[in-house]
């Protein structure tokens, strides 16, 4: 997926994935618009679907970026989301800064905590020859340490600014004037999918059109060969980790607008994020975005469908949907959506279209001849 010189079929597959992500986002927005005009009241689960899908798409892209560079499942990834959640929470409550305004700051802070984790812990352990399991348990340790840091930070907020809800707070959009409203719908419904689309498209451009992006792909695909070519592999990895942390914190900012947050809010999302990345194949960032869209949307839609069919007790098992997706993916096609052969589909479609055209032109010519 990320080979430095993708052959034609790989490039086609990449483009298809990016297009699929964009298409699903467009379908979401179109559905919103249609619903807005057709239904008197848009059901809230539909709004949840759009937000969840976009946020998990963003998070899964970041997680996959950390996985393809270090090949370690990053259990601390959820805590970068919490970095974003707390950034927007404290800036809103203390300085009255809107989460949309503080989002870039959250991106930067999340990026730096991610880079710090990579440089201080993972690289140290990797250089000392730690095993994969040791690296995995170290990322779990970092997650616990992050929860400790957030706990201390929230206690500090409580004692300094009298914020009694700093350990568990409701969605920030409940504060009047936090989220804007467009055509009668909360602004996040537009911002979240558009951010995901912009980031997916931006990454595609970065990785295919810029020298640095191509160097990044080379470092992921074959680090030793990239080093021989004079690429600073470490620098590209650090940048990838920075982006990954940034995506997590950005989605954390959006998350805090929509859902209640707390010290381990991000860590608890780990089921969905891993499910999305695994569904995407853990090797392709566009696949991850697609996986995130599917996992986020199906989590809400399937639970909703189940609740309508069997009663509201189904709602407890909402988080079971991503887990089931993950299990099915791992056992049936462990390399994810990317491994499913897509190549034949557009090719044969184009071929049949072309042959249809030829047949038509022939018919017309034959008629013209007469």
């Amino acid at each position: 997926m990320l080979s430095p010189h993708p052959n034609r079929s790989q490039r086609t597959r990449q483009r298809i994935l990016v297009l699929a992500v964009l298409a699903i986002i467009i379908v979401f927005i179109a559905e919103l618009v249609v619903d807005y005009f057709l239904r008197p009241v848009i059901p809230p689960y539909l709004l949840d679907t759009i937000v969840y899908a976009s946020l998990f798409g963003l998070m899964a892209m970041g997680l996959t970026l950390t996985y393809i560079t270090t090949k370690v499942p990053n259990f601390a990834y959820g805590s970068f989301v919490t970095v974003g959640i707390y950034t927007s929470y404290s800036l809103l409550r203390v300085n009255h800064i809107n989460p949309y305004v503080s989002a870039p700051l959250a991106f930067v802070l999340g990026g730096f905590s991610s880079v710090a984790m990579y440089l201080i812990v993972l690289r140290l352990l990797a250089r000392r020859g730690s095993s994969l399991v040791a690296l995995m348990i170290s990322t779990l340790a970092i997650d616990i340490a992050f929860i400790g840091i957030f706990g201390i930070y929230s206690d500090y907020l409580t004692s300094l600014y009298r914020l009694i809800d700093s350990k568990y707070f409701i969605a920030l959009s409940a504060t009047p004037g936090t989220d804007f409203s467009l055509y009668g719908l909360p602004g996040l419904l537009y911002v979240a999918p558009i951010s995901l689309a912009a980031i997916a498209a931006g990454l595609y451009l970065l990785l295919t059109k810029t020298r640095f992006g191509i160097a990044m792909r080379a470092s992921v695909e074959n680090p030793s060969l990239a080093r021989i070519l004079g690429i600073d592999v470490e620098r590209t990895y650090v940048f990838a980790w920075w982006l990954a942390g940034g995506f997590a914190a950005l989605s954390g900012t959006y998350y805090s607008l929509w859902l209640p947050g707390g010290t381990s809010a991000g860590s608890n999302l780990i089921v969905e994020v891993f499910a999305a990345s695994v569904l995407g194949g853990l090797a392709s960032i566009y696949g991850a975005a697609l996986g995130g869209l599917i996992v986020g949307a199906s989590e809400i839609l399937l639970t909703q469908a189940g609740a309508e069919l069997f009663g509201s007790w189904v709602e407890i098992y909402q988080k079971g949907v991503p887990l089931v997706i993950m299990v099915v993916t791992l056992l049936l096609f462990p390399h994810g959506l990317v491994s499913v052969s897509w190549r034949g589909v557009p090719h044969s479609a184009a071929q049949s279209f072309r042959s249809m055209l030829t047949r038509l032109t022939r018919t017309f010519r034959a008629r013209g001849g007469n």
Partner: protein, 382 residues
Amino acid sequence: MDVPMFVLFGIDIIRFLIDLTTVYALYLIVSLTLNLEAGFSGIPNFGKVMFVAAGAAAAGSVSGRVAAIVLNIDTHGDYNGFIASIIPNIDKALSQNILLSVELMVLGVVLAAVVGAVLGFVASYPAIRLREDYLGMLLLAAAQLFQIFLGGYQPLIGASQGIEVPDVFIWAETGIEVRDVAVLLLVGVFAILVYFYVERVARSPLGRTLRAIRDNEVAARALGKNDAAVRRNVIIVASAISAMAGALLTFYVGAVNAETWTRITWTFWIWVMVIIGGAANNAGVALGAFSFTFLFKTVDLVKFYFQGYIPFDVNWLEYLMFAALLILILAYRPGGILPEKSSATLPWRTIAQIVQSESSSPNVSALLSTPAEKIDQTEKPG
């Protein structure tokens, strides 16, 4: 009859020691099973909490119901809803009836073992098929889901409020703390049994097979070892024992609550114990579990003295402290305090003696090209 009190610096030392040892014994059981999985067999069980919690939930929810049926106590068709009035009635009856108490406890523990084994069997399906990083993710996610299920499914253990559990040790409550000593004796004996069992497994040919599969799966398979079956059995046994530990903890505490079973308390702490002590070394794990429990309980004890001076909860510092400790150990002493030792085999002298005693049989003497005396000499070089 009371347990004597011994107060030092305002701390009841004996009460502290009883509690410390009981918790240590429970942690020891679970960390030994994790050592069997992760240390000896290379199965990264990042969902340990699920198996312990399953045992606790099974024992906690079933023992009370069974007691209510046996003692003919009216549950009004909603056991969890009327639990506040049911449990005192059960406890009153149990305080007179040692036999029923023991039966209830055995029932809970056996049921926990069965539930743990079944869960272990289910978990072994991916465990023998997936690479370790995928497996780690899957088990972590499954444990997270299980925790959400426990916290959301009311009929089992009352969702987030938790439920009380019949006190099966109430007959021992003949004086202050005597009940806790009884629990300690039971849990301690169980922990010692588990230790000897795990140690015996580690020293047996099976233990060497486990290490062989961990270190080189292909080579082990080439030597005719059925790695899938061995792994499956390890997970089943380890999960059953951890579930029993969960059931015992439930009976000790007298309540079961979904909040207890988090990724931090029963997965991460257990991994810390195994890694600090030394993976694939049971004595090391016992030491690691003790160091951890001692540090943890001592911090618990003294933190109230610091609470006034620090503007935050000391618990958060514990998280940071143990995470940092784990990473430092991984970086600078990856084997733990007591690293893994090579498999214990018989000393040369013993082998030589066996060979000598057996050499009368024509089979063995034909096989041996070196006489026993020569082997004996090679033992002391120089």
